[in-house]
Symmetry: C2
Subunit: 179 residues, 2 copies
C-alpha cells in the first residue's frame, strides 16, 4: 500500500491519528474484537488474532490500519482498516474501508469523523475513483452520516458470499450441476 | 497474487481456461467493454483502457484475469477478474470476483459455470475463508445460479460508495460538518 504515513491531528482537537505498526497489534486487535461485539458478529479467535498480526504487519501486508488516540491515553480508542480493490469499468483502484470504529466511551468527540475524513483524503491522494464500504441495515446512525457526506447506498447491487464450507460442499460435487 | 496458473479444461468440453497475460490485454478489454454494455454501465474510455493494461499487467498487478477460449477460436469468449480483499473478523483473505462474463453467443455451453468453478477452486486453494461478489438486482438468472451453488445474498449489509467527485466536494468543505 502506498500513501502518506504522516500523523494527522485536528487543529484544536485532543486526538491524533497515525498508521498502526506491528507494536500496535495487541491494541488493534482489542478494537477489532470490540467492533465485532458491537456488530453482534463472532469476534476473531486466539488463532485468528495471531493470523491478523501476520496479515497486517508481515512481509505482504493485506490491509493497512490507522489508529486514533485520545489526549494522553496510551491505547488507541478508534481505528480504520483499509485496503485497495479495483474497478475494471473505471480502470481505477477503489479504496475499500473494511472497518471503522470508535470505542463507545469516546464517541461524540469528532474522532469517527476525523478517521472517515482521513480515509477520504487518502482515497483522493491515491487517485482512487471510488471509495466503498458496507454498513449493517440496522445501523441507521452510520447510514445518516454516510448519506450526509455524499455517499450513495448502492441498493441495485446485491452482495453475495460463499463461505469456505460452501466452497468445500460445491467442490465436493454436491452442488456442481449448474444450469 | 499467488495460486496456480496452469490451464484448466473440462474433460469433454470444447473450451479451456487460462490466466491472461499482457498479450491478451486487447481481447480482455473487448470483453470488459461487452460486460459494461450488458450491465448498461458506461464502458471504459480509451484512456481508461490504457490504464487497465498497466493496472493488470504492470509492475504491481492490481487484479488477475482468467480467460475462456472456445474450440479453435483465437479470441477468448469469456473472462473472470479476481482480486483479494480481507476480513478482519475472519482474519483471512477473501477472494473477490470483480467480473464474470461470457459473450452472449457462447452461453449455455458451460463456460460461465467452468469459470465460476475455477474461481471457487482458487479461493479454496489460497486459503480464503470467503469468496464475495456483487450482482445487479435485475439479473435474476445470475442470482438463481449463485443461490444454487450455496452462496448467500447478504441483504443485511448495505453497500456504500463515494465517487471521486463526492470526495472532492467533501474535502473542499461543503460537506465537512459531520454529526
Amino acid at each position: 500500500m502506498s500513501g502518506a504515513d504522516n500523523p494527522t491531528s485536528g487543529a484544536d482537537e485532543a486526538f491524533r491519528l497515525r498508521r498502526a505498526t506491528r507494536a500496535d497489534a495487541p491494541a488493534l486487535i482489542e478494537l477489532i474484537v470490540a467492533l465485532a461485539q458491537f456488530e453482534k458478529i463472532p469476534a476473531p479467535t486466539a488463532a485468528e488474532q495471531q493470523r491478523l498480526i501476520e496479515h497486517g504487519f508481515g512481509d505482504r501486508p493485506r490491509f493497512e490500519a490507522w489508529l486514533a488516540f485520545w489526549a494522553d491515553l496510551p491505547k488507541p480508542v478508534g481505528y480504520a482498516v483499509l485496503l485497495e480493490t479495483y474497478s475494471t469499468f473505471r480502470a481505477s483502484p477503489t479504496l475499500y474501508l473494511e472497518d471503522l470504529f470508535v470505542s463507545p466511551p469516546y464517541r461524540r468527540r469528532g474522532i469517527g469523523s476525523a478517521l472517515l475524513r482521513h480515509c477520504i483524503h487518502l482515497a483522493h491522494e491515491r487517485g482512487c475513483e471510488r471509495m466503498e464500504w458496507t454498513c449493517l441495515d440496522w445501523n441507521k446512525k452510520a447510514q445518516a452520516v454516510y448519506e450526509r457526506i455524499g455517499a450513495c447506498h448502492l441498493s441495485e447491487w446485491y452482495l453475495y458470499r460463499l463461505t469456505r464450507d460452501g466452497m468445500e460442499k460445491f467442490l465436493a460435487g454436491s452442488r456442481q450441476n449448474l444450469p
